[in-house]
């Protein structure tokens, strides 16, 4: 097991009233899995993500990463957790610090005290993992949004994390940039890195092993994409949006077309429609 939540509640303290952002969540994220987290704005997704690497620690309950609690007093233990669970956020422009890409990537490992020679290797690995080797000595300013997010992912990869958390990292990108970032996430997952993808785009959730839906701080749905998409009533209740092929499949089933439960994308849907015409 990699990340485990046991009865976790998190409350942001406030002057007048505090906000309970995560409510009694129990959840286990399996090693090597690809988990998608969906839910309306304000449902607690980012808070959940920050609880995974000790940026926040539970008000009650316990979060463990590889068996180690994030509620530790030990700086070095917390540091180990942060380098195991890498986070990439939404805005590609707020995440760059250095003026040369290679320095941006070196920043994390330098802080970890990784020896100089090895840092060079890590930079090379991280940039090739996101397909940005040729940009090593360039500045990040001129990159497209998708490229900037890939650099942000590379900066995390240089820490050799076991888990990559992408908190709406595709939200501000155009379709091409989104596709680039998703392709990188899938490739890393294929290499054994656990991926937690927070997104509003249900087409992205289609690829996950598992979809977790949050509402008002609680986990309200948890299952495979097919299981989640099947429940139209809850999809509406939690203001999610079905991927278009799944929506069309459901509408056609209502009209009596024998479309199978599991549809993956436009081609498969067209195939099924043809068989029923």
């Amino acid at each position: 097991m990699s990340v485990r939540f046991e009865n976790v509640t998190y409350e942001y303290p406030g002057e007048e009233k505090s906000v309970v952002a995560v409510k009694n969540v129990s959840l286990e994220i399996a090693d090597g899995s690809f988990v998608c987290v969906c839910g309306e704005n304000g449902s607690g997704k980012s808070t959940l993500a920050k609880l995974m690497n000790g940026l926040l620690t539970p008000s009650s309950g316990i979060v463990t990463v590889d068996g180690e609690t994030t509620s530790t007093e030990s700086e070095s233990a917390l540091f180990a957790i942060r380098s195991k669970v890498g986070m990439v956020f939404q805005n590609p422009d707020n995440q760059m610090i250095a003026s040369i890409i290679e320095d941006e990537i070196a920043f994390g490992p330098e802080n970890l005290g990784v020896p100089r020679e090895e840092i060079g290797e890590r930079i090379a690995y991280a940039l090739s993992a996101v397909g940005m080797e040729e940009h090593r000595h360039h500045t990040p300013y001129k990159l497209s949004g998708g490229q900037k997010q890939r650099i942000a992912i590379a900066a995390v990869l240089a820490m050799r994390p076991k888990i990559l958390v992408l908190d709406e990292s595709t939200a501000m990108l155009d379709p091409k940039g989104r596709a680039e970032v998703l392709a990188v996430a899938e490739e890393l997952n294929a290499q054994g890195i656990t991926v937690v993808l927070i997104t509003h785009f249900m087409e992205e959730a289609v690829r996950a092993d598992r979809v977790v839906v949050m509402s008002e701080g609680a986990v309200v749905m948890d299952g495979t994409p097919e299981e989640i998409f099947r429940d139209r009533e809850k999809i509406n209740r939690y203001h999610l949006e079905l991927p278009v092929p799944d929506y069309l499949a459901a509408e056609l089933r209502k009209e009596g077309f024998p479309i199978p439960e599991k549809i993956f994308g436009e081609e498969e849907l067209a195939e099924a429609i043809c068989r029923s015409l």
């Binding site: 309306e40 704005n41 509003h200 092929p245 849907l269 015409l277």
Partner: protein, 283 residues
Amino acid sequence: MSIVVKDLSYVYSQGTPYAQTALENVGIEIREGEYLAVVGKTGSGKSTFIQHLNALIKLQSGEIRVFDIDLTAKKPDLRRLRGTVGMVMQYPEYQLFDETVEKDVAFGPKNLALPEEEIRARVKEAIELVGLKYDEVKDRSPFELSGGQKRRVAIAGVIAMKPRVLVLDEPTAGLDPLGKREILALIRRLKETTSPTVVIVSHDMEAVAEHCDRMAVFSGGKILKVAPPREVFYDEALMREAEMDAPSVVKVAKALISRGVSFHNLPVKKEELVKELVERRGR
């Protein structure tokens, strides 16, 4: 015609080694009452184009006429222009600045030099139009609101000027599905009430297919085609050249066509595809 653009070209940092051509001989006539989508991949010139429409970018070469306002004139009437073309920039919530929602929304109409009473009335109307409760939000700081609410306050600030043309740059970017639906519904409502002509920049082809009358397809600073979604999405050569992705419905329809299915009317909306298939099966 509400807006006529001829031979519009624009170069950033002109005359320097960093010169960057953003628009090249762009021409289009935007019809009064239409819902126009400006589409194309990032860097194709969409934002540069729309910012010309209310002179946020100064004309370098070409002609633009907005109703009777001629932007090629020595001194175009910018105040009247800004009251005619309302511009909602990308991520407009980052541009909120005033201490209360009411003051923020009043900023535009104040610049139009309207009487105090008229300003107050318009601010109230605009806040209600975007679906917020005037009495509940007017004295609140815009920064305390949720992302979707902030964006609506920013839009209220533009529609309080009662523009005949509403221009929005990627108005649903970064929102959750409900937020997206609400903003699209709001734009519809505004089109039917205050601002009959709407121009939106969007990467969301599903939304464009559902809502827009015509699309202007940009690529490399040029307009490749201006046509209804049906004539854009099924134009293979154009889609390839503009490097655009068709909406899911069109992809399904194309996959069906390649399997020998024919359509009366090429579908671009979800209900159009379902209707065609149901009718076909009934025959």
